[in-house]
Subunit: 302 residues, 4 copies
Amino acid sequence: MPTTVLGQNQYGKAECRVVKVVRDGTTHHIKDLNVSVSLSGEMDEVHYSGSNANVLPTDTTKNTVYAFAKEHGIASAEDFATVLARHFVAGQEQIHRARIRVEEYAWDRIGGPGHSFVRTGQETRLAQVTFDGGHVEVVSGLKDLTVLNSTGSEFWGYAKDTYTTLPETHDRILATDVSARWRHGWTGAPDSPAPDWDASYARAKTHILQAFAETYSLSLQQTMFRMGTRVIEQDPDVEEIRFSLPNKHHFLVDMERFGLKNETDAPDGAVYLAADRPYGLIEATILRDGAEQLIPADLTTL
Amino acid sequence: MPTTVLGQNQYGKAECRVVKVVRDGTTHHIKDLNVSVSLSGEMDEVHYSGSNANVLPTDTTKNTVYAFAKEHGIASAEDFATVLARHFVAGQEQIHRARIRVEEYAWDRIGGPGHSFVRTGQETRLAQVTFDGGHVEVVSGLKDLTVLNSTGSEFWGYAKDTYTTLPETHDRILATDVSARWRHGWTGAPDSPAPDWDASYARAKTHILQAFAETYSLSLQQTMFRMGTRVIEQDPDVEEIRFSLPNKHHFLVDMERFGLKNETDAPDGAVYLAADRPYGLIEATILRDGAEQLIPADLTTL
Amino acid sequence: MPTTVLGQNQYGKAECRVVKVVRDGTTHHIKDLNVSVSLSGEMDEVHYSGSNANVLPTDTTKNTVYAFAKEHGIASAEDFATVLARHFVAGQEQIHRARIRVEEYAWDRIGGPGHSFVRTGQETRLAQVTFDGGHVEVVSGLKDLTVLNSTGSEFWGYAKDTYTTLPETHDRILATDVSARWRHGWTGAPDSPAPDWDASYARAKTHILQAFAETYSLSLQQTMFRMGTRVIEQDPDVEEIRFSLPNKHHFLVDMERFGLKNETDAPDGAVYLAADRPYGLIEATILRDGAEQLIPADLTTL
Amino acid sequence: MPTTVLGQNQYGKAECRVVKVVRDGTTHHIKDLNVSVSLSGEMDEVHYSGSNANVLPTDTTKNTVYAFAKEHGIASAEDFATVLARHFVAGQEQIHRARIRVEEYAWDRIGGPGHSFVRTGQETRLAQVTFDGGHVEVVSGLKDLTVLNSTGSEFWGYAKDTYTTLPETHDRILATDVSARWRHGWTGAPDSPAPDWDASYARAKTHILQAFAETYSLSLQQTMFRMGTRVIEQDPDVEEIRFSLPNKHHFLVDMERFGLKNETDAPDGAVYLAADRPYGLIEATILRDGAEQLIPADLTTL
């Protein structure tokens, strides 16, 4: 008699590195993706007895990623993931859900139009598409977008207990690596055209940056909420957004020990120590009023 | 009129690196932890208006981690996390939930008893304790436990489609980096003594290794299910376990191109290419019959 | 009788993370550095007997980095390192040589002039200054500048042996992460003004990128030599430059297995697999005619 | 007229991941290597004109690594690298020097003899063999061997200047990640049998650990010198050894701020903060009396 049962399970090929080059005369266009496939369905037997009858090999899912980049092209990370997700569920009866995750790396041109590129190196764009046979769920996102305000940030008036030693401050550096995921309302219904994903992404990034820059901040939570609100307000298709924001501490170095004053607003500037660990970690979901919260609390990438 | 509302949110200090040394004469004992605190509760205002009145600073949570290592000691990762989680909820009315995550690094002694140590470097032990004011939830785990079977693994009889090109095999290397989390049934009720966490952890690791070694494998899913079942069968307090297992491919190198035969069972051995990306990714929860599934599908660390 | 003697030795504090903010009204300027100090001199005793009488603590060298950022400012990575290197040799009789290494991270502004920044994320700028009491040696550099040509690269006509199976190609992707170090002729003589380091760096980066883009490449070695030659030709102060260039392979995916043609110049584009390991590694020094070769063969950072 | 000339150059394939399994009945033996090849010789033309006539492709060097693992086996990292280095110089007239670098990962058995392994995860073993047509140079080494003494370390009596604020201490934690390279005297002369490399490596590691544990330390430099001396004294074939040792600071946490005493020798133990950056970096070569110093000052791996 079995004492254990199988719960949620998924499998697939992770981190397929796909680069697509399309030539338009001497002007080339490049897409640089890292694609991970995760499939679920009637998979009891492979766990219980090792029968692979229902298992489309992960090697096949990898081949499909490359083949589809050829056959269907990569209009955008979200479009490509949608085509893949629909394919796996439609193509194999026993597969009931497919989740495709994409990381996208951006490239700038060296000089004008041509075939030479330099990686921007800034944030990594993210897309996740899940298809369960009925609805498509699209979550876009980004990670490793490092931002810093050198003033316009305070932190005071907080709760205190026996272990509180932090002095209040009315002028500090606020810096973080933005990691964000936002869920779209579009569900892939037949009569409903998909958003322009690239335009949507560009808008989201712009508003995250602008809200970060324009918010006079009393807490990183406040700044985060404004960033999320801006994204939702500016894009009617965004239902919710989740952030995970490390508070990258920059400590004003105490120089009185060697007879120097190191003050924030000194004419010759202020010197900070950029710390690694530990760091504050501020996380929240901001929802369009009435929207359901579906993005998990802990953000993951692949 | 606000168009957005606050959803799930949490904050705290991540990655507090704590080392505790206890001297027993000339024999020293060491605990080496990385502790992350995450608090939730009545935190609307800090997001909406930036008022920090309800915010115990993350700096304070860091101080508490170090102070508690002194005041309460570190009996085990799980014990230490439990004391911390209870403290934050009990100590601040507006905090309703505390989640403490711990990474633990193991050290061996150099020579016999004394004060000299070398880091084992094998897996990282994990513990997560969540307290919501009523119940304690303890999830133990490990990551980066790299294992390999050089035979006793097959893969054949799988589903095929247009993109399937993988040849079947009856003798392959099976290798993975085990990442596992298991949830305990113990909920911290007053009359219920906590398990011996260190003994429980040692048992879980042993059974994961043994099940990996002893399972003749037709699929990594099958091996995974056996590993999970063994852990649950051997420890009455474990309710569920989740694995995330990369299939670290080792490809038998094709040497016919340069006139050599490279066969698995050749007397002079076989040569494999250990690949990086892409890799299969096999994930599942194994549940004690009747248990609730609470560990999230995507495993995270900090 | 000692059987061993002390050879080359150096010590100091590595990876001091310094951020300097200078306010010019509401417009702020930021410098973000990672500074490592390495000192050598009369250090026999600290190795032989443990006497620290000649050892200026690494903690003091760290303090000096922060204090000098305040007292002397950070005109550029090279200027700052020069001031530090001179100080340690001048300030402590027993220290005969100081080597300062700097990594610099670049920031763009969010919106116009103000106090909000986003990290560019592209290459990391490097500077190394060594002072031995007489001459200053300045080596500038960069790392992690990822570039790609989607055509204009061939590889054929190479030597062959028993193990050669690579097909020749007349159209391939050429991609690399540029790591480069270039040594300046300036030696800090009293009557010799230092170069404008920021302008010099900008020129070097521009010419590396342009030479990469403009070279029709028969080998990565050829492209590398052109990049180095361009930097030296365009800057009379550069004596030599060394590159370490991984050949980041992009393999045209074989799709005949699933009935597709995947050709470089197909109208609907070509699909490549971006590989991780192994990678070609191409390294060389290019010298101004008559210059001495002083940059070590193996590039290091910190 | 050329303004630039080619200096030192080398090329090859880096990070070939080779796993060799040899079956002895049901007991399997495993070797797990990461091999990098670097070749030099008459390579002017490939840099100047792009002619590859003298270039054995890096792809061929990769194939050779795998083929030789089959044809010659892997007796040890050093033996394998020696066979490879000799081959490239002997096999191609235009190649005058070959340098092979190997990283080796160790595995323990799960249970008794069989085919199941768990990676030890401790240090990575290193070997570098260079052959120039005449002599073989063998450098062995290791990295990432993390060690800690919880007492038996002092630091006082050091030089002081304006920026010195560090308090002296007579009881501190001393911890480091050992990175070491030691050069052998054996040069591959025809009548000179090679050392037993595995036994030599085991001895070196043991003596490094023992010297670390047994040295009452007044400075990390002193401990380092003892470690090097022990390796040289115990192995007549070792000519020199170089260390690069980060001083991984463990700061006794100041708890007076919250009314606690945190003292090194308290009966209930002491609590330390393990810091990341900056760290001290202590480097030196220890030489057998009369030996030449050939290991570069900055250690590199691949």
